[in-house]
Amino acid sequence: MLSGVFTKTLRDYWLRAIIGAVTLVLFLIFAMASYRAVDIAIYTDLPDVFLELYNIANVDDAGGLAYGTVYSFMGALTLAGIAISIGSGAIAGEERKGTMGLLLANPKSRTHVLVSKAASLFLLMNLAALILWGGAHLVPTLIDVNVVGKETGGLVLHMLVNALFYGFLALMIGAWTGNKTTASGVPALVMVVSYLAVGILPLVEGIKDLSRIFPWYYYTESNPIFHGIDWGHLGVLFSGVVVFLVLAVFGMNRRDLSARSAAVTLFDRLRNYPFMHSVIERLAGSARVSRIWVKTMSDHQGLLVVTGFILLFLCVIVGLLYPVLEDQMQDFSEDMPEAMDALIGQVDIGTPEGWYQAENFSMTGPFLSIFVAVVVSARSLAGEEADRTMGLLLANPISRIRVLSEKALAMLVYVFLLAVVVFVGTIAGSLLGDLGLNSVHVAATCFLLGLVSLVFGTVALALSAATGRSNFAMYVTAGLALASYLLQSFLPLNEDLAGYAKVSPFYYYLKSDPLTNGMNWAHAGVLAALIAVFYGVSVLLFQRRDLR
């Protein structure tokens, strides 16, 4: 795999492409299985803006709905996201790491390097598309869903070319600037803005045609699920790909390459302005390095800000939507398939509490919060070994327990802040949508949300302490979290197995229906005990191990 730039790039990114595609196929299985059992009128009756945004306008059956939500909407964004990450890493990423100089010390032209990277990006996206295409054919047969009249081949091809468009845009920006943040940020922004614009603009009379200036239009407008390939639209996107490649070759060859560099944050820029200097100096400089846990928090600030905003937005919007959808939800709750019911925690989605639980507290809330806890734990503890800074840190007169506990404290503060965000967002949403949620019960639910996140955060901590490998700790914990979630969701469907759901930490999070019933201290106690056990295990393991 190291025979050339092309194969080396494949080797660097193949896992990313395959994991993305396989995850989408798994989602498709799951979506088809649930939609099969639902009266999908509930979806097709949604306001137009939702239909547009979820890419399910004109959908008339379970198969179409699943393809629409999982592939056409989520899949297209995911695939394009993967392409952006590969495209931005290809040139700009190599410069940030400082390996570009060495690479170009070989008798290979810049054009050769760029084209090789572009070719592997192209191939990897095709590989991902192939997996998606295979899944699109296999899944309906497997679970017996009728998908007659769905042009999956056309849909996947549209997704592929769309993804290539953003991937090559990222490659081009990287080739021109050598700045990885710009190379990934700009295409992501273009993608999200154009996706939203193409969903919303057509609903507004008079400026309908404005959506034509957005690239997403040429991906989705021809409705490839039903009409198959629209060569004209694909042609527009593909000429974009070609233009970006040509521009990339040009940009790459005319520029001074940048050497290895540290990322520049907003704080760094503000720090250079005289009138902001003293305040920012404290925040970005002396305050941030005052303690291990403060520095750890500062290291992951971006993660906190992004997830915090997403959670806040979701919590508020869910409250706002309730009055609009209330009637439909009450109908929906009667037709709800058991499997779907299981996933949102067996609640009545027709009530405000059930609505909030289904939309926020059953999946997105815990997933995001657990994600943050796990990443902060693993990156801050094991990551310090991977970055080889642990030796220097522990050259100071501080014990390993102190390092571990300050890292854990940073994670705890993050989880706490996110729980506060969810609480504030939910209360705001409840007030704005006039749902009348009991604020004490909301607080109790957020508390339990924090606890369940800490359980998985400490699992990641223990794995990091035991191995010093952050990716291992993250992936294994994410797998455990997903398995626990599915156990708690699906075991109760079978009466004989229902009791086993108690092994899942999720059971102690939502089983007691805290939004309706308030705090369940016994369950909180179980979670707290788990946290204590995993933390204790982390301490023991970290104390006795040889550092990497």
Partner: protein, 316 residues
């Protein structure tokens, strides 16, 4: 001898089948610079990481300041300054942030002294560490190691990346430390780095301590570098048979060799048979003694490693 600052007793470290350290015994005394020499992969870094309690010995024990390195690690580290090999720092912190961070973790660091060290080493502390060249990053690492005025400085390849001017400054900083009765443990694979400051050197290879001697004893080893110039070319093989001769190099009319026998024996070998024009002999420096040590036992691949790290100084 004065007080023992660092003592290793039968130190052994295995990684599975790999023996990184084998039965290593070592004493470092207060007020000396101890040079720890060996080729890459000999076990120097492993030993230092055991001293720092980053890794734990399979058997044996370490005592530093009379305390067990494992049990009293925190107390010991309060009095240690440490510079790891292949220094890694936090790329997103500036030099000043980095030093502030470690000063906070240590406590009791005199910031005026930090500024003074930065001035001496001409270190730019305002830039992000990730944007610094490796030499400038090394300066941040050095300040970090010196700033708490440690009783024992443990440094792994400290002058890597420093330009000659800075190396000289660094050496004078080491001498000041010694003058104050503090102790330095200096690991290196280049002898030139150690011989100017060290009093004693330990030589390690394959995880075993081969020898510990004073630099003076090394120097007084009777190895001499001999250069012979002839009227016409002479084959190197002529000298190979002479006892005490090694590393014979033939360059046209010149023969260069290392010799640890009696000079008249060597001279008699040549004077009668060849037309000797000129002869120069020099006291071997540490580097050559070092090479001689290894040549006796080194495996071929190791010998290559030595050659690449040795460098011959120009002497009068």
């Amino acid at each position: 001898m004065s007080e023992v600052v660092l003592q290793a007793e039968s130190l052994t470290k295995h990684y599975g089948d790999v023996q990184a350290l084998v039965d290593l015994n070592l004493e470092v005394y207060a007020g000396e610079v101890f040079g720890f020499l060996g080729p890459n992969g000999a076990g120097k870094t492993t030993a230092i990481r055991v001293f720092m309690d980053e890794i734990r010995p399979t058997t044996g024990r370490i005592t530093i300041f009379g305390m067990d390195a494992r049990k009293k690690s925190v107390e010991i580290r309060r009095r240690i300054g440490y510079l790891p090999g292949e220094l890694a720092l936090y790329p997103n912190l500036t030099g000043r942030d980095t030093l502030t961070y470690f000063a906070n973790l240590r406590g009791g660091v005199d910031w005026a002294y930090v500024e003074q060290l930065a001035d001496r080493l001409v270190a730019d502390l305002s830039k992000k560490v990730g944007d610094l060249s490796s030499g400038n990053r090394q300066k941040v690492g050095l300040i970090q190691a010196f700033m708490n005025k440690p009783d024992l400085l443990i440094m792994d390849e400290p002058s890597s990346g420093l330009d000659p001017l800075m190396q000289r400054e660094f050496q004078s900083m080491l001498r000041e430390i010694i003058a104050e009765g503090r102790t330095v443990f200096l690991s290196s694979h280049t002898l030139s780095e150690v011989q100017r400051v060290a009093e004693r050197v330990g030589i390690i290879r394959h995880g075993r301590l081969v020898a510990v001697e004073s630099v003076h004893d090394f120097r007084s080893k009777s190895i001499r570098r001999v250069e012979l110039e002839f009227r016409s070319p002479v084959a190197a093989s002529v000298f190979a048979a002479v006892p005490g001769v090694r590393d014979v190099l033939s360059q046209n009319h010149r023969i260069v060799l290392s010799y640890d026998g009696k000079m008249d024996v060597l001279l008699r070998t040549v004077a009668d048979r060849y037309d000797l024009v000129d002869i120069t002999t020099q006291e071997a420096d540490l580097e050559e003694v070092f090479l001689a040590y290894y040549r006796d036992e080194a495996t071929p691949d190791e010998a290559t490693g030595n050659d690449s790290t040795s460098h011959r100084g120009v002497r009068a």
